[in-house]
Every structure is written in C-alpha cells, then in structure tokens.
C-alpha cells in the first residue's frame, strides 16, 4: 500500500518524538459523537449517539453500529466515512479466514488485523491516519469480549469503555457503575444511563443506537421501539 507519487510518509516524527498526525486524528475522534461499550458476564453491549444534521434526514437510512461477522459488531466515534473503509476491510478479512479454516474468526484475530490496517495508514506513503476509534464487541469460544482500537493501531481489551465528546464523564460514570458479574440486561440499562448523562436534548429510540450480543453469539442492533422500551424502564 502507498501512493506512488507520494513514496514518503505524511506521518513523521516531531523533534520531541511524537507522531503529530496521530494526535490530530485523536482530536478528530474526541470531537465525534459519544459511543461506549460494556462487557457483561453473559454478553456485550455497545451504544452510540445518533445525532443527525437535520430532521429532514431519514434516520432509517443510517446505521452506525455495523456487523463485521454474525458474532462480531463494531461502533465508532469520529469520522463516519473512515469507519466504512475499516468495516469493509475487516469483513473481507473475516471472510478470508473463514474460507481458509472453515471456522468463524476469533475476535482477537479480527481486532489484530483491523488494528494492523490502521497502523499501516500511519506509516505508508501518501495517506493519513484514520480519524476513528473503534469499539469491537463479540462473543466467541473465549466468551464475551470488548476491544477498543485507536487511530494509531493500538488496541486493548476493556471491561467497559467510552469514546468521543463525552469520554471523561462517561468513563467516570462507567467506573462507578461497572461490576464484574453484571448481566447483559443490567449492562444495557447502564449503557443507556451513561449516554443519557451527557446527552443534549431529548433522548429517544431515534437518536441513539444500541447493539447487543449474548450467549446466542448473534450480534444484533436493537430497533428504535426496543430502545424506547428500555428507556421507559430506565426512567
């Protein structure tokens, strides 16, 4: 990879040893809409704000939470178009793994490959880093897992994490509320409460998105009426 006319990296070291383009990419993530993920004992939930630029936008045409495989889902904070590229590449990698091994790709491996793509774009010629951080959630033979991948390509496994505009408040809230033996239903309620904390305006099933995966290993995005039901429970 690398554009021939630009056979030099645009991401280079500053005198203090920092990769400034990556720092700027993290700024882009930090100004994106808040998203978060919580790993429960029997599943994982991811949630995000879905604030659209106008009421004229058809919200059914937008889905921020995407599937990478039937048992792995992903949500992003930052630049939407960049996330589409990563989702597309990861889907292909997952499919290539399946074709070779006739087994669904383990989550750790998919995360590693996605992160490798993101790292490539911080070093290859003529490209800029991705302006997104991803939360990858799934359930495989190693149980429920949640990973966060940053524009630099570094990734960590999290019990609960948040990204985007409201990251510090959200993380403080999650730290207080998280327990190791949380059930998936509790995690969904906690996720909603965390989003509600920093939400500007009236929260509803139309302006947030929630994705869950349980022991059935089928990642799915909740419908807006299901979200409204959960919101009523939380009131």
């Amino acid at each position: 990879m690398g554009d021939s006319q630009y056979s030099f990296s645009l991401t280079t070291f500053s005198p203090s040893g920092k990769l400034v383009q990556i720092e700027h990419a993290l700024q882009a993530v930090g100004s994106g809409q808040t998203s978060l993920g919580i790993k429960a004992a029997n599943g994982v939930v991811v949630a995000t704000e879905k604030k659209l630029p106008s009421i004229l936008v058809d919200e059914t045409s937008v889905q921020k939470i995407q599937l990478m495989t039937p048992n792995i889902g992903v949500v992003y904070s930052g630049m939407g178009p960049d996330s589409r590229v990563l989702v597309r590449k990861s889907r292909k990698q997952a499919q290539q793994y399946f074709r070779l091994y006739k087994e669904p790709i383990p989550i750790t491996q998919l995360v590693r490959e996605t992160a490798a793509v993101m790292q490539e774009f911080t070093q290859s010629g003529g490209v800029r880093p991705f302006g997104v951080s991803l939360l990858i959630a799934g359930y495989d033979d190693n149980g429920p897992q949640l990973y966060q991948v940053d524009p630099s390509g570094s990734y960590f496994s999290w019990k609960a994490s948040a990204m985007g505009k409201n990251v510090s408040n959200a993380k403080t809230f999650l730290e207080k509320r998280y327990t190791e033996d949380m059930e998936l239903e509790d995690a969904i309620h906690t996720a909603i409460l965390t989003l509600k904390e920093g939400f500007e305006g009236q929260i509803s099933g139309k302006n947030i998105e929630i994705g869950i995966i349980g022991a059935d290993r089928k990642f799915r995005v909740l419908s807006s009426s299901e979200i409204d039901d959960y919101l009523a429970e939380v009131e």
Binding site: S31, P81, V127
Partner: protein, 246 residues
Amino acid sequence: MSRGTGAGYDRHITIFSPEGRLYQVEYAFKAVKAAGVTSIGVRGKDSVCVVTQKKVPDKLLDQTSVTHLFPITKYLGLLATGMTADARSLVSQARNEAAEFRFKWGYEMPVDVLSKWIADKAQVYTQHAYMRPLGVASMVLGIDEEKGPQLFKCDPAGHFFGHKATSAGLKEQEAINFLEKKMKNDPAFSYDETVQTAISALQSVLQEDFKATEIEVGVVTEKDPVFIVLSTEEIDEHLTAISERD
C-alpha cells in the same frame, strides 16, 4: 508543538490539522458553494423530485448542453451541485459502476448502493494525498424495489444519508430551514405536490420567480420508475400551478 505538522501542509493536502480537521475537505465544501447554484431534492409518497438552477453565463452558449442532471441508468438519476468538471468525472465513473453491477448481479443497482459507492470514493480522496476531494455534492434519486422512493445526498467528505428533503449549494442552509418547516409533520406528498414543493422552495430561497428555462427538474415516480428530465412545457405547467396557488 505548533511546528509539528511539518511546514503546515495541512491546508494543501488531506492530512489532519491540530484540531483534528481536514482543511482540504472543508475547502471542497466551499467549492460546492462557489459554483453559485442551489439545488433542492424532495421525496414524496410515491415519487422523488430534484430541482436546480440553470445558469447559462453566455447567450452564445448552447443551452441544451448546460446541465447538472445526469441519468446514471434508466432508473437512477444524479443531480450534481458544484464543479461541473468534477461532476462529469464522477458521473462517468458512476455510470460504469452501475452498468457493471447490473451485469455482474443481474439486477439494477439500488439507490443506496450507488450512493454508498459514491461516498466511499469520496472518502478515498479524503485519505489519500495523491487525489484532492471532488468539489461536488451529489443527490441520487430512484425508486427502490423494497423501500419505495429514495433520495440520497453524498458530499465531498464521504458522508451519505437518505433524505426526506434536502438541499445543496449556495443557499443550502436557507433551503433546509424552509424544507424543515414544510416537512415537519411527515407529509406524504403526491407527485404534483412533491414537484411544486421543490420548485417553490427554490423560488422562496432565491427570492425570484423562475421562467421554465431557468431551472432543471428531474423526477422518478413509482408508477413509471424511470428517471425523467422534465421538458420546459411540463415545468411551465408546474410553475403556473404554483403561481395560481399563491
């Protein structure tokens, strides 16, 4: 470190600025406005209509060759707002892509798939330094087999959304404000109402009454899901209907 970007090229190619912005993409949005034209799209109950100004800068120009409305396939239309040359390049590639889709998969390329393709192409230009972003906002319209009438807008940043109504170009924000009021209660416009809402939105925002030769109108309807560019006579009928209504 403020020098950290390396001689400040963040305004020249699509790399991040210190605030995490892409200046080249933002400038591409300005180029869309600089063309001086405003476009409007409205989705009705069983039809979609797009309208744009037809500015012919020179009387010696052949008016029929000045257009921003392009059929991509028989069933899909694209209204390009912004730099005409970039638009033609995009349309040419989109036509190729739609034709290949039909050949490969045996059915017509749906509206949202084409819009995603256009938006993904736009994203590539925001990430690779060797190509600048295109100074075009595209509105794609068509009738989807399952979802009915669809109107999508794709912008230089690579975003794309489905819209009930939208606008692009010089008076984009004013038009969106106008349309938000009109569409607030989710009205289900008939074909005539759709076309007339779109045209009257443009007239209101630009504060002038048009002659049929000064605007271009493109439609698709569920009854006949072919992308059609209205003739001047048909546009005149709608203009008359609007002025009689007011």
